[in-house]
Symmetry: C2
């Protein structure tokens, strides 16, 4: 298990080592990218050598970060990680470093304790929030580029300050970053939340067209089949956020998205707005997650999968499926 250390101890650690490899999880999201590269730029600003290592390519929308990054050439002597809950999430290209992580900076309460030292705050919205406070408390450098990176993860993990996980501290950091570093936040927001590829737009249309409500309108189910992906030309990475679409219908308290991953094999994403614990429903199918966002995998065809899901949700809502 890891030794838990404080923010100021983490800052001291960062000052006293050099030649960093920073690991982030595969299929990187805004928090992985923002915390990894934000920390990397801060270390370089301190005169250290640092690279970020990720098994997957960084999605194109983070180009405003990536255009400032060039890998440096050096032999690593200190491996750290950000936003990484489990070394299983490293992916192929970086899994060889799994057993040698000196310091992990994370906000997942489920962190497996793979690193020698761990800075963990399960209440923090994002790893970026923690990296920001480590830099701030340790009086380490923050410039507009670093601020833009850290802003990115706070934004993506809170849905632009929309979700339950948004803390007062998120807003305070946003206020400081906008006031002190004048980052082009509106343009970053547009890139992160508004701009969609034509393929994604077409896919959303198909998903919304096929969306149906059940159980007195309290449950909405959307399906994305392999044929939908093929017809619209959308890539797998463009499915991000699709799981929230069923929740946009008024009166819906459980939203389900059925995504066909391979013929006859479906990834189920469940979201809930109210007090319905969707992680419990998903656990029945061997999945899991959080109260308001969970997932599992089911096999069959779309119609049978839809029925299985409804049969599991109905009793939780106190509805008799055969009468509904």
């Amino acid at each position: 298990m890891s030794e838990n250390i404080s923010y100021t101890e983490a800052a001291k650690f960062l000052k006293s080592h050099d030649n960093y490899y920073i690991l982030i999880h595969s299929s990187p999201d805004g928090d992985a990218v923002g915390s990894g590269y934000g920390l990397c730029f801060a270390l370089r600003e301190m005169g250290k050598k640092a690279n970020v290592l990720c098994s997957d390519p960084i999605p194109e929308k983070y180009e405003y970060i990536m255009k400032e990054y060039e890998p440096q050439k050096f032999a690593n002597s200190c491996i750290i990680s950000t936003d990484l809950a489990d070394t299983k999430l490293l992916g192929k290209a970086t899994s060889m470093y799994a057993d040698f992580v000196e310091l992990a900076i994370d906000h997942h309460i489920s962190n497996t304790g793979f690193a020698k030292k761990l800075v963990l705050d399960g209440q923090a919205s994002s790893a970026c929030e923690i990296v920001y406070d480590i830099l701030k408390q340790g009086e380490l450098p923050i410039n507009p580029l670093i601020a833009s990176c850290l802003f990115t993860g706070i934004e993506t993990d809170t849905g632009c300050f929309k979700f339950e996980c948004t803390t007062p501290r998120c807003h305070e950091i946003a206020a400081e970053i906008i006031r002190d570093h004048h980052i082009p936040f509106a343009s970053i927001n547009r890139t992160l939340f508004d701009i969609k590829s034509l393929e994604r737009i077409k896919l959303e249309q198909r998903v919304m067209e096929g969306l149906r409500t059940y159980l007195d309108g309290k449950c909405a189910i959307a399906a994305v089949t392999l044929s939908d992906m093929e017809i619209t030309g959308a890539a797998q990475e463009e499915l991000e956020g699709v799981a929230s679409l069923p929740m946009c219908i008024k009166g819906v308290s459980v939203g389900v998205t059925i995504k066909e991953k391979e013929p006859g094999k479906f990834k189920i994403s469940m979201r809930s707005a109210e007090d319905i614990d969707v992680s419990e429903i998903c656990r029945k199918f061997g999945g899991g997650g959080h109260i308001r966002a969970a997932g599992c995998t089911l096999e069959g065809d779309v119609d049978s999968v839809r029925l299985k899901v409804l049969a599991a949700i109905a009793p939780v809502m106190g509805i008799d499926l055969w009468l509904a």
Copy 2:
């Protein structure tokens, strides 16, 4: 013209009068509703009598505010306004009060100075931001209900902290409100930004299907005809925010929405992401607005209106329409 007064002077004014009618503009948005009712609840909390007057019904999504409101019975002795730039915007039912406004609280730099006294901050994101700071500086009451109202206007006017007009102060207020008043902000956000009627969803689908890009993909135009409204069953008030849809396409720097208001008469909304001044383009057609959001009215049929708009936009982008 109005006498400009400070936030603390406004707080003193509110303490020293009673029996308030608070006017807000017709077609009320989140900032009008939030600032009007937020101030009303604060005045009632101070032991004053206060009502909000609006010529139009308050949209259903603000039910979480309206369920706490009952009009009181009293003869008014002090008329004030929030978020009202011009008494022309009062609408029929409240226009009789136009010449008797004692105090106006506003963030529109274009405020016509109709009130005897005016608290104006053109840098503030919203009237709600100003009302919050008046209450705070004057040590007037703020409770969770008042905080929820004021949060509403900051949210809607900044697009949930997304737009350029978001100030560090917006984030600071959000941090204070979440920390001090524990409002159900995530549920409010879902109501304000995510939930859509089935009619609105169908309308968006039609709009997106008809969306086309022009001028090397830098301009996108969407059209909403009276027949689209009829087929989808969407009401006029459900068109809110439709003008931002063309901007979601990658590479688009000017987004145009053409809305048919009556047969052959179109309201044009233009949005720009970059440094293109759309208010200048709209002014050519007798309209106006801000650099990045403007509008005008045009007559004809959809195709001729589309061409007129493109002919005006192309030269501003340095593109020859006949070669494009």
